[in-house]
């Protein structure tokens, strides 16, 4: 009798272990497969965002993945409904998506058109954004919607800074509206060629006086306008017969340097001949030389400057 009870007990235990260890498995139903796929897609969406779920919602992501695995396992093990497991996993996935979306940094697109305006004109600021809850533009523009346009009419070049804030942080972008300088009046025409020569004292080692005589472009002939200035030099030589005079010719920077050197020498020579013809001066007391485009006294980039540089200077030794 006892043996029979023991055999029965052992049989029950064996059956229990067999059922527990070799429980029948089943495949997921179509509904369960669809649910699992939908949850997987949600998780993938959150992981694929610019700032992924691993960074934004690691705890929720882990829970969702583990819950989904748990639900799948239950579905293969249980013949009864597994709906609660999938519902839990789905809720976890929703939480991951929501938290990851909220974590995305604001994205701004912002520009000014036209970027450059004339004084008194206006430009339009245009912007659009994502993941933004609050936006504002400085320069007294103030709060603006997450996307929109705004006309601005600055009087000077101005930077308009758009600052956008979302749950994922704050970003700023700058649009610059450049106000062009007023169109300047046309520059006055260069002084007429007949302008009287300018006498400019030049600080030089041996000079006590210098004389500027200007020439027309590419010319070395004495201009009638300069005769009066040269006449002063002639008078000075007459009154100081013992002084030695040095004449130095120059050109502006245009043209070949070699050519300019020759031209400057011819200019100095022309003045020398004029003085020699007007005043009685020993040839050894007057010399001339050319220095080409060296030692400019005016800006060679302007017509006025070039005119000043085409000259002969007279030094008293």
């Amino acid at each position: 009798m006892r043996n029979r009870h023991l055999i029965l007990l052992v049989s029950i235990l064996l059956a229990t272990f067999l059922v527990a260890g070799c429980g029948s498995h089943r495949a997921l139903t179509k509904g369960e497969t669809d649910q699992a796929n939908a949850i997987t897609a949600k998780i993938a969406e959150a992981e694929g965002m610019e700032k992924g779920a691993k960074i934004c919602a690691p705890k929720e992501l882990a829970a969702a993945k583990a819950n989904l695995d748990g639900a799948r396992h239950e579905a293969t093990e249980n013949w009864e409904t597994t709906q609660p497991y999938f519902v839990t996993a789905d809720k976890s996935a929703d939480l991951v998506v929501a938290k990851t979306k909220a974590c995305q940094p604001p994205v701004l697109k912002y520009s000014a058109a036209p970027a450059a305006i004339s004084p008194g004109a206006c430009a339009t600021l245009t912007w659009s954004s994502r993941n933004v809850q609050k936006a504002e533009i400085d320069q007294e523009v103030g709060a603006v919607p997450p996307s929109g346009t705004k006309q601005v009419c600055p009087t000077i070049t101005t930077d308009y800074i758009l600052t956008a804030t979302g749950t994922g942080g704050t970003v700023s972008e700058t649009a610059t509206v450049t106000v062009k300088a007023p169109v300047a009046a046309p520059p006055p025409p260069p002084p007429p060629m007949a302008v009287a020569p300018v006498v400019v004292p030049v600080v030089a080692p041996k000079a006590v006086m210098s004389l500027h005589v200007n020439f027309d472009t590419n010319k070395y002939t004495i201009r009638p306008a300069d005769l009066a200035e040269l006449q002063k030099a002639v008078e000075f030589v007459k009154q100081n017969p013992d002084v030695k005079i040095q004449l130095v010719g120059y050109t502006d920077s245009r043209g070949n340097a070699k050519y300019n050197q020759k031209l400057s020498e011819k200019r100095a020579e022309s003045v020398k001949k004029y003085i020699e013809g007007e005043a009685t001066i020993a040839p050894e007391k007057i010399t001339s030389e050319g220095k080409g485009e060296a030692d400019p006294v005016g800006d060679n980039k302007t017509k006025e400057g070039q005119f000043l540089n085409r000259r002969v200077e007279l030094f008293l030794k």
Partner: protein, 95 residues
Amino acid sequence: MRRASIILCVALLIAGLAGGCATKNALEGTRMSLDKAKAAGAEKNAAYEYYMGEAYLGQAVYQAQQGDTKQAGIFNKQAADYSAKAMEMSKGGAK
């Protein structure tokens, strides 16, 4: 016959108890491993790996409570792997 039956019963009981104990020990080992990783700053330095370890350990415990020691072992293995990874990633991180 009688003796053989008794031996068989005892053996089965021992086998059953040993299996349960092994699962329990494994789960406790993973729990300790995750606690160490947390202490090493894993929550901050290896958040995803740490929380994956925690989540799978939770699943393992649930399966163990349900009597599914086999699945508990599978989930626990995943938890232990993530825990080890979290620990490794936390080395040199915030202590």
